[in-house]
């Protein structure tokens, strides 16, 4: 499960040896994130976001467990219990703001982590399973975040729950019964709130489980790297500890400066004022949007304003939105180029930076904007490009693109010198 030149775990104390025979947890840590895990020596800062996302998941779980100590999952008092947390509980405001902004920071980390994978081809063989598990984590995180946003039972909570469960209504024939099944009623109410709370508490632990598989799968081939070239020998790697523990630690400190800055000085900047109004089933907020991390998908949902053949617009939008993420499951087989890193793919690089990234940014802006022109038209164009990128451009590029010459090894790319054979 590791390179043959990995440093070997040797317990230094008698207790360490005793433990190593009974429960080799020290060995596990040593070989996974310690000195026993050789890692490419040329990882750039884009490789910091995996561990960062992990840390923010821990922040969410810790603050979430605490919030659950004070929150009441009952439609009659949920809103008041959140105000109770904000006003009465010692440091409750801080813990809730940490949780609310922690969700955003988790998604920032996860998006940059996904973007890193897309650009450097980390999804390609032999790392397909890591990528697939990552998509599963992302889907679970979206479900968790959505249900968490419902819990304060403000106006955005209520109408978010109504709109998102309304997506299922678009399914022909069984849509309506499915929506009622999900909600335990005809509109979001106590039954929905309780099950969302239960699942919101459960899913992060499921995510943690899938993350363990994600890392397990990662440790078989080891990390990809900015050149995309395989590790060829010991000179291409450094031990994870202390090199990347230190780098991840320093980067975490940097991220926490932004996180706490956000938490203490602009805690509601990413939220919606409407959610400080108690849920009212009889009045929809004028401008209803999800949290920012859902905006691109929300734009794709709203882009479909027209029926196509016998498929109604509503169903088209829902299908497109889910497909936009599900297409990632096929990515390792859509992009057949044997070159992983975008650094050595001149055309791919252009399509990535001037096609896909602006397209997602435009979708994000449109998703957060009111459903009116020019945003509808922009969403339609960007949605079309989004699917074209994955379904047409990537498969075509892998056939016609002529990649730049790859370095012979990571070391050669780093030092600029050909690998010395005698070492």
């Amino acid at each position: 499960m590791s390179f043959p030149w990995a440093q070997q775990y040797k317990p230094t104390t008698e207790f360490g040896q005793w433990m190593d025979e009974k429960l080799p947890i020290g060995r596990l840590i040593y070989n996974s994130v310690g000195a026993g895990y050789p890692t490419p020596r040329n990882l750039n800062y884009m490789w910091n976001f995996g561990s960062l996302a992990g840390v923010f998941l821990v922040v969410q779980i810790v603050t979430g467990i605490i919030l659950a100590m004070h929150y009441a999952a009952n439609a009659a008092i949920a809103f008041d219990s959140v105000e109770h947390i904000m006003r009465d509980v010692n440091s409750g405001w801080m813990i809730r703001y940490a949780h609310a902004n922690g969700a955003s920071f988790f998604f920032i980390a996860i998006y940059l982590h996904i973007g890193r994978g897309l650009y450097y081809g980390s999804y390609k063989a032999p790392r397909e399973m890591i990528w697939l598990l990552g998509v599963v984590i992302y889907l679970l995180a979206m479900a968790t975040a959505f249900m968490g946003y419902v819990l304060p039972w403000g106006q955005m909570s209520f109408w978010g729950a109504k709109v998102i469960t309304g997506l299922f209504e678009a399914i022909p024939l069984v849509g309506k019964p499915i929506q009622e099944l999900l909600l335990g009623g005809f509109a979001p109410d106590n039954a929905a709130l309780n099950r969302f709370f239960s699942l919101h508490y459960l899913l992060p632990f499921v995510i943690a489980g899938v993350i363990i598989m994600h890392i397990w799968a990662l440790h078989i081939p080891g990390s990809n790297n900015p050149t995309g070239v395989n590790v060829k020998g010991p000179q291409d790697t450094v031990p994870f500890h202390p090199f990347y523990t230190a780098k991840d630690g320093w980067f975490l400190g940097l991220a926490l400066i932004f996180f706490t800055g956000m938490m203490f000085f602009m805690p509601n900047a990413l939220g919606h004022a409407d959610n400080y109004i108690p849920a009212n089933p009889l009045s929809t907020p004028a401008h209803i949007v999800p949290e920012w991390y859902f905006w691109p998908w929300y734009a794709i949902l709203r882009a479909f304003t027209f029926d196509f053949l016998f498929v109604p617009a509503k169903l088209l939008g829902v299908l497109a939105m889910f497909s936009a993420i599900l297409v990632w499951f096929f990515l390792p087989w859509l992009d057949k180029s044997p070159v992983r890193s975008g650094d050595y793919r001149p055309r791919f690089k252009k399509f990535f930076w001037f096609g896909l990234i602006p397209c997602i940014v435009i979708l994000g802006i449109c998703g957060g904007a009111p459903a009116e022109e020019p945003y509808v038209m922009l969403s339609q164009l960007a949605s079309a490009y989004y699917f074209a990128h994955f379904l047409i451009i990537l498969p075509l590029l892998s056939r016609i693109e002529k990649p730049e010459p790859l370095p012979n090894s990571i070391t050669e790319a780093v030092t600029g010198k050909p690998l010395e054979q005698a070492s």
Binding site: P4, W5, Q7, P38, R41, V62, T63, I66, M69, H70, H84, R87, D88, V89, N90, S91, G92, M94, I95, G233, P234, Q235, T237, V238, P239, F243, S423
Partner: protein, 193 residues
Amino acid sequence: MASVDTAVEPSDSAVSEPEIGGVRRRDFINIAAVSFGGVGVVATVFPLVNQMNPSADVLALSSIEVDISAIEPGQAIKSSWRKQPIFIRNLTTSEIEAANAVDLSGLRDPESLADRTQPGKENWLITLGVCTHLGCVPLGAAQGEVKGEYDGYFCPCHGSHYDTAGRTRKGPAPTNLEVPEYSFLSDTVVKIG
């Protein structure tokens, strides 16, 4: 292949710097960084634990006012203070005499009735209705309840007997029934807490 040296050459002169008295500059950086991180961890953990302390709304209910005008001598009422029962008892003259007649040196928790009441209001015995053994509510406040061998309170859980001054006399209770902080706002209203 397996015997290749994996050590990476240090690019920082601080690493290869010779040790002075067994201490390198890097050691200082290590200790400083870890210490600073430790301070951060403590600062983070404190509010995460402190949140479990009573919240502002709980503390806001920490004092109550009780009208005692209807309690005749020989009667007692139960009230609730900080979610705990509180006994307010109007002692009869004979109960006061019985409490004062006890030799303090023979008590497990020596306190006179005067210690446990306010001057001029010796007939008002105000205690928590919480047995000092393991927290059950003793009997004897309501009419018809068993008052125990010393005519005060009796805890049915593990058989602790309290006398007319609410002092532990028999059974496992280690101390007398707790007297909360209270003051008479007037002759008929007492503020507890």
